[in-house]
Symmetry: C2
Subunit: 336 residues, 2 copies
DNA sequence: ACAAATTATGGAAACAGTACCAAAACAATA
DNA sequence: TATTGTTTTGGTACTGTTTCCATAATTTGT
């Protein structure tokens, strides 16, 4: 692989002149420019951006750490990030944390050593000390959807609390009284917020905190499966379930199918963030959808802005509205 | 951000000694090692891997260019790649080509200038001259699923021809005679192969090439929508449709729903690569599933092997078997 | 006791590009 | 003609780390 000196030699100029041709900076006569361009194409020269990155301490790369790109919600977020990065001339390092704090830390350290300019992260837990590490290195961070206890970080997130309230309220309005929330991990801020919204709606409807029916678990289909198995054993049996994400909902449906319980005739179901409509054969879930693509796009642009210079500007906490859609998975409870 | 010299100074040693401590190479006395480790933690020192990358011409990064991570099939492939990369200590640059040759080229050039060690690519078209560019730079490539006309490149792919044959054969066995294939782009090798399999089955059943019913389009829901609109106008109307991927199938379902045509009573449907089962509420499509995760995992490992040294070994063309599952979207044609 | 091997440490150079400074050639102005 | 400004080109230094080589210091072998 030729370097800038090889090109310079072939064109009979100094390396710096080649640099000027490539980057279109400074003065270069037409004659030299032509000779340089010829040499570049003769040698199939591709400039090496590692050198400049070392000097300028800017790599134009960003680390993207998500829990699992297999989940269509995050896929769409990633897609938004990617589009924004493409437009802004940044490149993405894709990392899957699998909700593991250990893997998260490992990735962050590796990304730091690769000199990424900034981070887009979905933190696995609310306690997030890796973050300190990043900030000590003077790198920018923007959180995706989930916040952490240290609040001094930019974040772009969905309105989990509001969505929790809305879904619960919808079921209450249908006259449900026994509503179980099949929630995500206690350590995910989104799950905490969803529970908050649920509680607010329940309290407003005159239920005390004691009648809370919250099951903490994970954002997986398996978790949804076991959570609904458990919820169905409660007496009185819940007449409505709220699934804290799309995967949990899928686990729920499997269980209800097994038990021969019809949705919504026997039991109602409302869901957070849903599958993207285009993946759904026949849209069915009453759901509160988060604007996944916008979340990714906005978060990335927030990061790039920070990297562009305005480090001083105030902390951002962008909360995106959800879209509530009533479909056929919710109805009034069966008459007793 | 401190560098290795800062650490060395603080520990009262030479930079090279710090390097030895970090990488656990060569001889270092316990005393110095301890002093160095202290200095590292005092300064929050994170080694910069850009320097060594420049010297060694190995960045331990790989460019991953896919058409669209929004498609669950590719998402799963990417996930397989990511897992393999994590294990092998590589980092991934994620790029979305959107099936555009232009974007593809742009990304490849950028990735080259970032000194990636190799490429994992889903080529947008069968003609792929960007590839030459890569090979001229002496970088390794492994293709994902789709081959290109120049066959001198490693590839890991699904058995598109076999799956095409199997799906068609299944419908023929059910006594369908008018079977339309709603296919992907003419320039995608997978679509070409799927058509081949379809033809082979049709010919075997005694149909001449003239009775071919192939509609070329794109691997999108929209394309599936318009393709099925067209196919339904043919006389005799097809009694069965084959969708060349999951998105096309979703477009088909939308149209059939609109027309009030029941699946499979009025018309049968068989599908390539399907949605991952875990995303399907109630699995429904008779389908030929490609092993997406394995494809990504194997392709990545093939690349890492090449990067590990055995450049000389012979060309690989790994064809993965599909999984054929009969579900409720296919049945005998309605009696006339 | 002396040579040889082992352990321990450091200096210089190299990777690729560009920012900064220097310097020449030429044109325009006083 | 002298001065100033503009255009054009190049030399040097710097980024962070490690490979290669050199040089001690210490231990082992005979």
């Amino acid at each position: 692989m030729p370097n800038i000196r090889d090109v310079a030699q072939r064109a009979g100029v100094a390396p710096i002149t080649v640099s000027r041709v490539i980057n279109d900076t400074g003065y270069v006569s037409d004659e030299l420019r032509q000779r340089v361009e010829q040499a570049i194409s003769d040698l199939n020269y591709v400039p090496n951006r590692l050198g400049p990155s070392m000097r300028s301490k800017r790599s134009n790369t960003v680390g993207l750490v998500v829990a699992d790109i297999t989940n269509p919600f995050w896929t769409t977020v990633v897609r938004g990030v990617e589009d924004a990065a493409y437009k802004a001339g940044y490149h993405l390092f894709l990392c899957n944390s699998d909700e593991s704090v250990y893997k998260e830390r490992e990735y962050v350290e590796l990304l730091l050593s690769r000199q990424v300019d900034g981070f887009l992260i979905v933190p696995a837990e609310t306690q997030f000390d890796v973050l300190e590490l990043i900030q000590k290195q003077g790198k920018a961070i923007v959180l995706l959807d989930r916040y952490v206890s240290t609040r001094s970080i930019d974040i772009v997130r969905g309105d989990s609390e509001g969505a929790g309230y809305q879904l619960t309220r919808h079921l209450l309005d249908l006259q449900h009284r026994d509503i179980a929330l099949l929630n995500g991990p206690r350590l995910a801020s989104t799950a905490v917020e969803r529970a908050k919204g649920y509680r607010r709606a329940m309290n407003e409807a005159g239920f005390s905190d004691k009648s809370e029916r919250i099951l903490w678990g994970e954002y997986t289909q398996e978790s949804g499966y076991y959570q609904s198995l458990e919820a169905l054993q409660w007496r009185p049996r819940p007449t409505a379930l709220i699934a804290a994400n799309n995967f949990i909902a899928l686990g729920v449906v499997r269980v209800l199918d097994n038990f021969g319980l019809r949705i919504p005739q026997d039991i109602s179901l409302a869901v957070f963030d849903d599958l993207p409509v285009e993946l759904n054969l026949r849209p069915f879930f009453t759901s509160a959808d988060q604007p996944a693509y916008e979340m990714g796009f906005l978060a990335a642009n927030t990061l790039f802005e920070r990297l562009g210079g305005n480090r001083s500007s105030e902390l951002k906490d962008i909360v995106l509205p959800f879209k509530f859609t009533v479909r056929s998975s919710s109805a009034p409870p069966p008459s007793p």
